[in-house]
Each structure stands twice: as C-alpha cells, then as structure tokens.
Amino acid sequence: MSRSMANRFTPYMFMAPAAVIMAIALLYPLGYMVWGSFRDWNPSQTIGEAEFVGLKNYITLWNDPNFRESLGVTLRFAFFVVTFEMVIGVGLALLLDRDIRGMSVLRTMFILPMMIAPVVVGLMWRYMYHPTVGTFNRFLDGWGLPKIDWLGQHALGSVIIADIWQWTPFIFILSLAALQSLPRSALEAARIDGATPWQQIIHIKLPLMMPVLIVTGLLRLIDAFKVLEVILVMTEGGPGLSTEILALRISRTATEFRELGVAAAMSNYLLMLLLLLTVTMFGFTRWQEARAARIRAAVEEDA
C-alpha cells in the first residue's frame, strides 16, 4: 500500500527540485519583469514604491529613435551573422565530408573558439582590430595597403566577423553530423546514375539535410540575440549606436540611465521576438516529424 503511494509520488519527487528552482529564479523574475515594465522604476526604489504608469514605457520606447536604431542593429547583426555562418558552415561541411586522417583532431580545433569565454573572444578581436597595434592593420601596412578603421567606420561589420569566427564551427559540426547520417543508399544510387558532385549536393544532400539545417539555423538565430559580451568588450556599443544591440542597450538602460521600468519594457520586446522564433522552431519540428512519418510510409509502400 505505502509502496504504491510512493510510486505515485515518485515523478513529483524527481521533478520537485528543478520545478522549485525554475519557479523561483526564472518564472517569478520574468513575471516580476512584466509587472515592473508598467512602472516608473529606478534602482533605489523597491517595486512597490514605483509609480504605476501603464503602457507608457512601451509607447516611449516605440517612439524612441535610439531604441529603433538599436533594434535595427540587432536585426541586421542577427541576419548577417546567421546567413554567413550557414553558408560558410554548410559549405565547409560539404567540402570536408571525406574520410581523411585526423578529422577528429580537426574538429577539436574547430570547436575551440566556441568554448572560450565571449569576454576573451572580444578581447582578442579588439586587439587584432586595434588601429595601430592590431594584427590586421599591421598586416595591411606591411603589404603597403591603406589601413582600415575596423572598430570605427566598419564597427558592425567587424563585430559580425568576430561572431562568424566564433560560431561558424557550430553550424559546421552540426551539418557534418547531419551529412554523415544521410542514407548511403540514396547517394550510392545517384552516383551510379551518373550524377555529378554538384548535382548530388543540390538534388540529394541539401534537400535531405534541410530539416536539420533549418533547426540549426533557428537555434543560431535565437542565440544571435543573446550575444552581448563580445560586443561590449570590443566596442561598448559604439561608435555612436552603430553596434549597440538590444541586449547591450537593456543593460545600459538599467545600469547607466537607471531606468529599470524602461529596461524591463525593452526586455519584454526582445522576449516577444524570441518567443516568436521559438514557437516557429517548435512548430517546424512538429510539422517535420509528421512529414517524415508520411514519407517513410510512402517509401515503405514503394518498396
């Protein structure tokens, strides 16, 4: 009797610690933030003392050119980063999908950039981009080429390059894994029918990899909105607002301008954007599972 009682409570006992921690330190803060975003709130007040102002923070932000600029920078950053990383990463995976010696060593070296602290990545690139001391300008100078003002005029581009350096390997590793789990029979059949390597890639490999690629791309896109430290260390959002992504603006609004309510409202905008992306990803995986099941059924019928 007591045994069956214990069994009924087992899942809750396993779940409880995680549920409690996530409720206290994730869900409650998120709710607190939504509540705070309707208030005129500065760090020296508790939330109860702050004045309720309704949607004012949201409306102010929506009409604030700086916020819009920042949103634009974030979207541009995310778009370029994901596009370039996908193209380069998938391209490299297609190129390097061969049986060569030392592939595992190679992969180890490629994941190195991902594991290093964003703060350190920012620091390395800030050094390399340095106008006089930096590696790139010294290199250009050595070849007699004009120096480039990396973190000045071309700040956003430079920041994007650093992110591409750090995260292309992620796409590369995932698409290589996808590539190597493709059904050998389909590739074999194509080869026997005389498909050129290009045809194999365009008509067989890429379509078969597509589900994994889309999920990978969306994951990367969600992560691109989280980038903060690299940019903070490299440019601190400047010059002007040219690299001030939303995450950075939130942190500056909270700590420098001391407007917690506005920062909370901004966080909510960002959260809504990410929620949309997550739901897309979730819906896509569901749809794709259904489709895969249908195709499998069809193939079995054919066979």
Partner: protein
C-alpha cells in the same frame, strides 16, 4: 580494422591548413602576446622573435603568489581572488544543475504524471531567454526581495552582531550568483539529458525493480551510470556558461565575489590598456575551457548534436 583514407587534392590540404590557422590563430596570438612586454606588443617587433617573460602573469596573479615580484609596487589586480570566486561558482552550480537536471529529465522521460506536458513545454520555452532579459528582474529581486528580513529573527541577529543594514540579500553572495546560473542552465541540461535517457533500455530498469530496488536506487545505480556520456556533455556546457558569464555576475557580485570575466571587462574599459596583462588574464580564463575541449571534444560534439537535433 584498417580504414582506408582517400588521397586528396593538394588544394584541399591547403584549405584545411588555412581553416586551422584561422580558428586557432587568434588564440595562439593571445597566448604569445601574454608572454610579451607591452613595449614589444606595441613596437610590434614582428612575430616570434622576442624574449618571453612571465611578468604579465606575475602582475595578474600578484595576490596569490608566495613571493613578491620585483616589478610591481602595488598589487592592484586581485586576479587570484576572482579566479577562486569563479571556480567556486562554476563548480557548485555545475554539480547542482546536473543533479537536479538529470532527476527532472528522468521524470519527464519515464513517468506519465499530471502537469508533465506543461513542465516540458515550459522548459523548452525558457531555454531561449537571454541573460540580458533576466538582468532587470534579477537585479531587483536579489537586492530587494530575496533577503532575510531586517525585522525578522535571523536578520535582526545579524544586525545586532555585525551592524550594517540588517537585511542580508542574495545579491553580493556566491549563492545568489549560483542560484541564477543553476536556474538558467537547467532547461538546457534537462533538454540534452532527455535524449540520452530515452536510449536507456526500459527492461534494465524493470529488472532492477523486480529485484527490489526502489525508484531512487534504480535511478542512481542503473540509469545514471548508463548516461555518463550525456552527463559529461551536459557538465561541460553548464560549466562553460557558468565560467564565462559576465552580465548577471556583474549585476549581482560585489567587491569580494567578483568573477574573472568582470575583472577583465573592468580592466579593458580603462583608457590605457595594458595589453600584456589583459592577455594574460584572458589566457588564464580560457585555460579550463581549452583543457575541456582538448580532452573531451567527442563528448562536446555528441552533446551538441543531441541538443540540436532532438528539438
């Protein structure tokens, strides 16, 4: 079993070399520069010809060295202390996240219970929350609400003994930072471990249960040993985030609980950047992740693929 390797075009090897140089180059550059004096870095006496010195590391670690380096008058950079803070916070939060996370993952995979779908959907959703979004509420809550009340028993006791404000808050303590790191990493760990637990054959668990093992015994003695690779991967990812995180730590820590990333950023933002010392601190921060990468790259890759493909 001998694998046959295809012979490749020379251009192919050239490409691979180029890629390796590109991905490892910046790290190597930092490594080399951390052994140079600032004079050498700035004058740019090209490349590899320089006198290596450990002076930068001495400056960085001056608060934990057993001798006093000659070139420093005053030890301003408290790197050693920050390193220890980082270590405490990253290790404890990794262990906690793993234990709590794998229990939750097990419950989600193996049991049908009320609220299961809600929990698993919530876990998936909060995975995308960026640290920047948590900044405002965590700052507010940890400073104002998650406190021992100043009028309460323990708070009053502390005020009487130590003086001060009287209320003790989570902000500025190790536990405060650990709590948010555990919460932040849990969704991800649960997500990754689910895909490993699914693969454990149910028959093994049933056999153990028939032999009289309780649910916790089954979990700790049968399931856990079988998902070691998954645990390793999850541990590395959790450690990486806790070790590298800057933003939340900077909002929550005070002078004594500073972590290494905060120290590096604070030193960066000053005008006269001492490149050598900064590179040395960066290198010290990067060493643990580099070690993991070199020794456990297979687990990392397995974890990454498991995490991404099993959406």
């Amino acid at each position: 079993m001998a694998t046959r390797y295809e012979r490749q075009h020379p251009a192919f090897y050239a490409l691979i070399t180029l890629l390796v140089v590109m991905s490892v180059g910046p790290v190597l550059l930092m490594f080399i520069n951390s052994f140079k004096l600032d004079v050498d870095i700035i004058s740019g006496a090209t490349g590899l010809i320089f006198l290596p010195t450990i002076q930068n590391y001495e400056t960085a670690l001056c608060d934990v060295l057993w001798y006093e380096p000659e070139h420093i008058d005053f030890c301003s950079l408290k790197f050693g202390g920050a390193f220890i803070n980082s270590l405490i916070i990253a290790l404890i939060s990794t262990v906690l996240t793993l234990v709590i996370g794998c229990m939750a993952a097990y419950a989600l995979v193996r049991f049908r219970f009320m609220g299961r779908d809600t929990v698993s959907l919530t876990t998936l959703m909060v995975r995308m929350v960026p640290p920047a979004v948590l900044l405002v509420p965590v700052f507010g809550l940890w400073n104002n609400e998650f406190c021992l009340d100043r009028d309460g028993l323990i708070g009053g006791l502390i005020r009487d003994t130590f003086g001060g404000r009287g209320d003790v808050c989570l902000a500025g303590t190790h536990s405060g930072i650990i709590l948010i790191y555990v919460a932040m990493n849990l969704p991800f760990v649960i997500w990754i471990l689910q895909s490993f637990i699914v693969q454990v054959p149910r028959s093994l668990e049933e056999a153990a249960r028939v032999d009289g093992a309780g649910p916790f015994q089954v979990f700790f003695l049968v399931v856990l040993p079988l998902i070691k690779p998954g645990l390793a991967a999850a541990a590395i990812f959790t450690f990486r985030i806790a070790w590298n995180e800057y933003l939340l730590a900077s909002a929550l820590s005070d002078r004594n609980t500073k972590t290494v990333p905060i120290l590096i950023v604070n030193n960066m933002s000053e005008f006269n950047v001492e490149w050598g010392v900064i590179m040395a601190t960066g290198m010290l921060l990067a060493i643990p992740p580099i070690i993991f990468t070199l020794f456990a790259s297979r687990q990392i890759i397995t974890g990454m693929t498991a995490g991404a493909v099993k959406g």
